[in-house]
Every structure is written in C-alpha cells, then in structure tokens.
Amino acid sequence: MTDISLHLNTDEIELWAQGLLPAAQAIHLADCSLCRAEADRERKVILELVQLPKFEPRAGFADRVMAQVKIPTPSENWKA
C-alpha cells in the first residue's frame, strides 16, 4: 500500500528528472504508479526543453554592437 503523504511534489519530480532525487522519495517513486506516471510526463517536457537548440544572430553581431559602445580610456593595470 502506497503512503499518499509521500507523493512527490513538483519540485521533487524536477529533482528526479535531473537524477537528484533523495533515496527516500526514490523508493516511493518505484512503488507508486501515480507518481511514476506524473514524473514520466514531466520528464518528457523537461527533456524536450533542455534539448532545444541555441540560436545565433547574424554574423558580425559583435562588430555591430561594438560600433555603438563607448569604451573608457584603458588604465595602466591591464594584466589579461
């Protein structure tokens, strides 16, 4: 019999999707079909989001930005 007081909340489901769920809740998850179904649906969405590509602006973006940036006068202690 599953203890409903142990059902995972949304924060815990997110931790599980990241592989960070503490052992006690992980044991509950293994036993509770309700939580597992919920966690699986949540994980699918999170996975789709984390796999989204990063987009790039057109080439020359940095030059277009820098053309409008006022650079202060360099100081003496540059050590890069």
Binding site: L49, K54, M66, S75, A80
Partner: protein, 194 residues
Amino acid sequence: MSAASDQQVVAWAKQGHEAAFRELVRRYERPVFSLLYRMVRDRALAEDLAQETFIKVLNGIASYRPEFKFSSWIFKIANNAAIDHLRRKSLDTLSLDGAPGAETPDQIRATSLQLGDRAESPLDEVQNRELGTAIERAIARLRPEYRSCILLRHVEGYSYEEIAESLELPLGTVKTYIHRARNELRGYLDDRRD
C-alpha cells in the same frame, strides 16, 4: 581571457579594454539572442532587441554592481526589452477594416490590413523551420512571463534563485510560473499526441 570569470572580465571592461567587452558579447550573444527570439518569434526584431540589450549593458558597465551575477543583469535587461515590445504590440490596435478615419472605399482599402497577400520571404522560411516544432509552438502559446521563466530554467539552465534575481520576482512566484508553464506545455503536447 576565456577562462576568466564574468566578474573578472567585467572588471577588465571597466578598465577600458575592448577585448573584455568583446568577450562578454561572445559569452552571451547566443543565450540572449535565443531568449529574445523565442520571446518575440521574429529573427530581425530579436536581433535588434539583442543589440539594444548589449549596447545598454556595455555602455552602462560602470554602474554594474558585482554583488549580482552578470548573467542576471543582462537577462533582466533582455527580458525587459522583450516584455516592453510585447506590451506595445498588444496595444497596437490594427483594424482589419481600415483606419478609423477612413470613409471612402479607396481610403478603407488603402488602410486596411491585408491578410494572406504576402509571399513568404527566405527569413520567414528560416523562422518557420526554427520555431515550427511542436514544443516551440507550445512555448509560444505561454504567457510571456511564464515563457521567460521556463526558458531561463530549462533552456539556459539557471536556478530558481537566479531567475528570481534576473526577473525581479519573488522566488515563490518564479516557482509557480515554472510549474504552471510546464503544466500548460504538457497539456499542449498531450493534445498534439491525441
């Protein structure tokens, strides 16, 4: 320089070294542009807003306070630019039936919104390809506030605390927005699968 922390690069920028400014652009152009593009769903506009964001940040670098993360500061300015644009856009009341003052048939025709008469440009094709997937379309249906929170959390990988700092929202509000956004996305994606 690429191994230095953001705080160190900002310190160099404050000393007036162009390479440090360029390094900040290099580090953040993709995440800032990606966020803005997904917020406004228009490549050219996203690039204008990204450029505006960087110019504001880099010209204001002297006022940057190092107790805050640089990423929080730049995402705050980018997000504000996107939200301001979306608010202005929602206030634009473009009539399908022409301008309010248009009375004659010619005036009405000249000022009315024409739908479906514009050929798809190469840029439109790129946008449709990039933002046409089910998950991208689902993200577009979210409220802008939910959209920025979910993008910063799961696409950019920032913590709830960092998002709260960036967007100047209480931590509880950020958590609520992200949970609601995920629920709505699940709903949209489930509808797709049905």
